[in-house]
């Protein structure tokens, strides 16, 4: 589904990614771990198409298509979703309306008919019930006045409604207490499916107790320095990132 080859990227002229290789297949969950400044968030922004994150070398193929030439909204319409580490507030825009506009924009781009309000409401109610999310949250402006936990849950709900094929979760665990973490992880697990791939970016092994990955990659100084199965996360927890950085050097 996703094939990243020798990806180099700069931000404000500083090189952050220095040759990332990664292949993710349908149905797989990959965890990318790494210390602060290793390039985790940069990788997620490059994949989602944020302006200012300049790819200088390498390629990213998504379902055989060159992802890097597409606008962020075109990537979204093709099924890519980024759950933000810090979800953005949009005052005055009701979350429900935001979701409807987003879903219908994607459907339109794919040449599908737009959902009517009743159909959309049914879909949202169904998804919210599965994730045990209170619909009252959706009557408020997008992320405005949301607690840290609410913001992350709203991101997961957006993901559930938009039904992406490739989910990138950027430090979804940051700022969550253990209960909130469990709720979010349950939501993510509910969305695991054979035709959906997930890339879970995290600093701590903690999240991976709840979202068990198929593969774990260690990102250091803009490169993946080790890959392994879920036991790699435990090894990391034990030894710390420092030993991997020495390996990389």
């Amino acid at each position: 589904m996703l094939k990243i080859e020798n990806l180099h990227a700069t931000v404000d002229g500083r090189s952050i990614l220095n040759g990332v290789d990664l292949e993710v297949n349908s149905g797989e969950v990959h965890a990318i771990m790494g210390p602060n400044g290793s390039g985790k968030s940069t990788l997620s922004y490059v994949l989602a198409g944020r302006k200012g994150y300049e790819v200088t070398e390498g390629s990213v193929a998504y379902r055989g298509e060159d992802l890097l030439t597409l606008e962020p909204n075109e990537r979204a319409a093709r099924g890519l979703f980024l759950a933000f580490q810090y979800p953005i507030e949009i005052p005055g825009v009701v979350t429900m309306q935001f979701l409807k506009v987003a879903l219908n924009a994607q459907r339109k781009a794919r040449g599908e008919p737009e959902l009517s309000t009743p159909d959309f409401m049914r879909l949202v109610r169904d998804r919210a019930a599965k994730l045990r999310i209170d619909l009252d949250m959706l009557k408020r402006s997008v992320n405005v006045g949301f607690s840290g936990g609410e913001k992350k849950r709203a991101e997961i709900l957006q993901m559930a409604v938009l039904e992406p094929s490739l989910c990138i979760l950027d430090e979804t665990d940051s700022g969550l207490d253990i209960d909130a973490l469990r709720i979010v992880a349950d939501g993510v697990n509910a969305l695991r499916s054979p035709d959906r791939a997930m890339v879970v970016i995290t600093h701590y092994q903690r999240l991976l107790q709840y979202i068990v990955p198929d593969r774990v990659h260690v990102l250091s100084r803009g490169r993946i320095v080790r890959s392994g199965d879920k036991s790699l996360a435990l090894e990391l927890e034990e030894k710390g990132y420092a030993s991997f950085e020495r390996d990389a050097a």
Partner: protein
Amino acid sequence: MADLDTIERIKHIDVDKYKYGFTTDIESEKAPKGLSEDIVAFISQKKGEPQWMLDWRLEAYRRWLNMTEPKWARVHYPKIDFQDLYYYSAPKRSPAPKSLDEVDPELLRVYEKLGVPLREREVLAGVEGAKVAVDAVFDSVSVVTTFKKELARAGVIFCSVSEAVREHPDLVKKYLGSVVPQGDNFYAALNSAVFSDGSFVYVPENTRCPMELSTYFRINEKQTGQFERTLIIADKGAYVSYLEGCTAPMRDENQLHAAVVELVALDGAEIKYSTVQNWYPGDKEGRGGVYNFVTKRGDCRGHHSKISWTQVETGSAITWKYPSCILRGDESRGEFYSIAISNGYQQVDSGTKMIHLGKNTSSRIISKGIAAGRSDNTYRGLVSAHRKATNARNFTQCDSLLIGDKCGAHTVPYIEAKTSTAHFEHEATTSKISEDQMFYCMSRGLSQEEAVALIVNGFVRDVLQQLPMEFMAETQKLIGISLEGSVG
């Protein structure tokens, strides 16, 4: 960065794409260029007015001769040669049509293009039995008035000012100029001398007007100043909601629009006045466009009366407009809700005046200014309390949103409290559409334009909610259209 890209695209804004830029070729009958007592008399005679009306106009004209144009607003434009304008034009085709069938088909097609087909207006948008009456002003003369019978049953008078002068002279004599006197300001004086037509509404005691009243009008003659005059009176305990919306065709020459609107609310009465203004804003180099120099004022003359202004200003090259409330009656209330969008080279200097004269009067001002392109957007507002206005209260909130870095937003509040019991609050913010917000929206599937429209609609939500239902959807679309050029 998304917002840098937005700025880049705004530079290429193509206002030539102005959606409603077209003209029609209905023949007009016009007065010769220029202004004199003879022209004033010509207009009065054309409209078959009585002597008292002509005298009123001439007095206004003589005052105007001794006045000078106001210069204090933050707007710039070449000097207007008032002798180089036409002051009267009327579509030929008389006598006045009795029904829509008698209306010039060409005119109906114009409304069609505007998306305001009259037939559709008769049962507007299927809003639960709601009916919107249209006093359609084409250029200067009211061409057609609908729903008169239903209104008449309620005792509501809704007609053109010309007709009111003929049919209801006592009401006109009593109220015309009682809120905006002939000599109030340069443009109001000019309007008083040469006003061609407009709407007249009288809602009798304890009557709730059975439908929203609505006027759509547009400028359609080369170099014709448009001088609308609107007078609305809500008698004791009455309620009326009035909607005004307009678009204008594309022009090279600047067009002067100097309307006057007067509202009078007696004891316990309420008037809600909503405007959507979409005059031609000029081309992408800032040439042409309408000069919109308007005087709108409401008088809360009675106890417990209420006047509420809601405006959505998206068009015009220059807007000079301060819908105001005189809170004369004790316990009266004034409200002003405004969305002002400027793009390209547009200049907006708009706001309100809340003049507290009575006891326990209150007012509320919510202003949302959005500046894009190379435009300048100024909020100018006065809140004052007279010595006798004990316990006067005001809350003001002025928010500005900037799109790009070539535009300007300014807030100029004036506050005068002559009583120590007044309680005035003022809040103001200025912000930009952030790159974070743009990226977040786009990562969810919205295009740049959709993202800007969504964010701006969120920014103005408090004001949008004040609009009548059928105007709200229209306005949300208009906001999208107004900013269309700003992102490509």
